[in-house]
């Protein structure tokens, strides 16, 4: 579904991505872990066209999407949500999601008819239902709680009916209870929508419980990949990362 070959990107002198080769099969649930600054977010940025890679290929199906613009890539079926929820503060939840639905269907430049277009309503309702924001549909996005803003960010991506969904630390900045709720929602989404889901996560309990496979990044390169059990006992991973972060995740 998504194959990355020999990916490189540097910012000034920093080699944020330093030769990554990875393959994500259709319908899988993958976690990406790695210490701060490992290049996880940059990896997502390259896949979604926020930056063009310096080198390497990004195959979506059989097409090389490296260097395409973000809208082009999104339109092919890759959606993403952000480490810090990226929303539209002055729009209500419903308006936000309707806007995304319109964009997905190419209706976002329609001048003549009223917003929202009737046909879009049903899909927006479904998306809000999926992430559990129905009750807050008419609240201003900017007034939502942190957790709900993260949910809304994910809902925006879902409205695009992506085949691949990239979630950058969906549980960032949440309390323990909220985290599990969030990841539960994400897991259900994955099961219902049967999409390829890749999420970045620092909480190892969550990662080991939910991920089918785990990819470990460090200094812009792949340190290890495998099933949760293999990663748990991987000496390099323990050395480079788990030692500290595992504790941190619990504490």
């Amino acid at each position: 579904m998504l194959t990355v070959e020999n990916l490189h990107k540097s910012f000034g002198g920093v080699n944020a991505i330093n030769g990554i080769d990875l393959k994500f099969d259709a319908g899988t649930l993958t976690a990406i872990i790695g210490p701060n600054g490992a290049g996880k977010t940059s990896f997502f940025n390259l896949i979604t066209g926020a930056f063009a890679p310096d080198q390497g290929r990004i195959l979506f199906g059989t097409d090389d999407i490296a260097g395409l613009s973000s809208p082009d890539i999104v339109k092919r079926g890759i959606g993403r949500a952000f480490q810090i929820a990226s929303i539209f503060p002055s729009l209500t939840v419903r308006e936000t999601i309707l806007g995304a639905v319109n964009a997905h269907r190419g209706w976002h430049t329609k001048l003549r008819r009223r917003f929202p277009l009737g046909e879009a309503n049903a899909q927006a309702d479904e998306v809000m239902e999926l992430v559990g924001l129905t009750a807050k549909a008419d609240k201003l996005s900017g007034n939502l709680s942190h957790g709900d803003q993260k949910l809304l960010d994910i809902a925006l991506a879902l409205a695009l009916e992506p085949r691949v969904l990239l979630l950058d630390e969906p549980t960032a900045g949440m309390g323990p209870e909220e985290r599990w709720q969030m990841i539960d929602t994400v897991h259900k989404l994955w099961q219902r929508k049967q999409m390829t889901l890749i999420f970045i996560e620092h909480d190892m309990d969550i990662v080991f419980k939910y991920a089918q496979t785990i990819r470990v990044l460090s200094y812009g390169a792949v340190l290890a990949e495998g099933k949760p059990d293999e990663i748990r006992n991987h000496p390099k991973v323990i050395e480079a990362y788990l030692g500290t972060a595992y504790e941190k995740g619990r504490g």
Binding site: P71, R80, S86, S90, R114, F115, A157
Partner: protein, 319 residues
């Protein structure tokens, strides 16, 4: 959905009816002159708000289109002797074309650089008008008057007809723009104002939406200038001077940037202020400056924005 569209049309028709009846209450020429100037400025300021308030594009040079509308219309009437409807439509076409080119160049720039580039284009037009004396009459403005031949029984050299015509253009223009900000496109504009990066990751080609908004705003901005040239039967370089853009910005901020009718209310306020303050004191600048400071430091939502906000709060409190 249908029913609200009808409601809008009914409201627009009612507004038109009120505008038609108002001269019975205020029969003087002063009133109709005021209303004609108001219609030009209200359309112009509202069109600028499509950019500033709705799309987050702070243009300092929207007066480009005011001047362009006035001069292209007046010149077409004067030099080509076309009929008013033809010149009207041609002016809209010229403005759309210019807005497409200027917009495509300007929207590539971010924030203050965008603002400055729009200003530079406007001042370029102003300089061309001043320098191209044989065509434009230079800093004296177009001399010889703009002919206003009758069409469809409408005689715009008759002040009454002109009043009705301007009122109709005002209502129709505001209706179209109102409709526009309530269309899916209008919501996309607001999304881009809030967070253009996120919009890109929803598949929105942000520059296209911005360009379209720029063109629409430019077209309506030029209609404002057109009405003014009809009213004064001429066109002056001042129409393309930066002060025109500045006045529109004040109208928007005085009325309320976050509300559709804010610029209309702001236009009424600023024009009234002009008339009243110049009558009671010679220190017009001083008064206006103080009032502007009050808005900038105190009433940032603008008058209409504040009233609506207070009303919302009272309603929320009552529940």
């Amino acid at each position: 959905m249908r029913s609200t569209v009808w409601l809008d049309i009914v409201i627009a028709a009612a507004a038109m009816a009120v505008l038609l009846l108002l001269p019975l209450v205020f029969p003087g020429k002063a009133f109709s002159d005021f209303m004609i100037r108001l219609s030009a400025f209200a359309i112009f300021a509202t069109s600028l708000n499509l950019l500033v308030g709705y799309t987050g594009l702070v243009s300092f040079g929207h007066g480009l289109f005011y001047g362009l509308g006035a001069y292209s219309f007046a010149l077409m009437m004067q030099k080509l002797g076309t009929s008013i409807p033809v010149a009207f439509i041609a002016t809209v076409g010229v403005s759309a074309a210019v807005a497409t080119v200027v917009g495509a160049i300007c929207i590539r720039l971010k924030e203050i650089y965008f603002s400055f580039l729009t200003l530079a284009f406007q001042m370029l037009l102003h300089s061309v008008i001043i320098a191209w004396t044989p065509l434009t009459g230079g800093d004296q403005g177009l001399t010889g008057g703009v002919p206003r031949p009758p069409f469809l029984g409408i005689r715009l050299d008759d002040p009454q007809h002109l009043y009705i015509f301007c009122s109709a253009v005002l209502v129709v223009s505001l209706y179209i723009m109102w409709h526009l900000v309530r269309s899916p496109f209008g919501y996309t504009m607001r999304m881009i104002r809030d967070n253009p990066r996120r919009a890109e990751f929803l598949g929105v080609r942000v520059w296209r939406v911005r360009l379209l908004a720029f063109v629409v705003a430019g077209v309506f901005g030029s209609i404002g200038g057109l009405l003014m040239s009809l009213f004064v039967s001429s066109a002056y370089p001042d129409f393309a001077y930066w002060t025109v853009s500045g006045e529109a910005v004040f109208m928007i901020l005085m009325g309320g940037i976050s509300v559709f009718f804010g610029p209309l209310v702001g236009a009424v306020m600023l024009l009234l202020l002009n008339d009243v303050v110049t009558r009671v004191t010679e220190h017009y600048s001083l008064m206006l400056g103080i009032i502007i400071l009050c808005f900038a430091l105190g009433l940032r939502k603008g008058l209409l924005g504040f009233v609506l906000w207070a009303w919302e709060r009272r309603r929320a409190g009552a529940q």
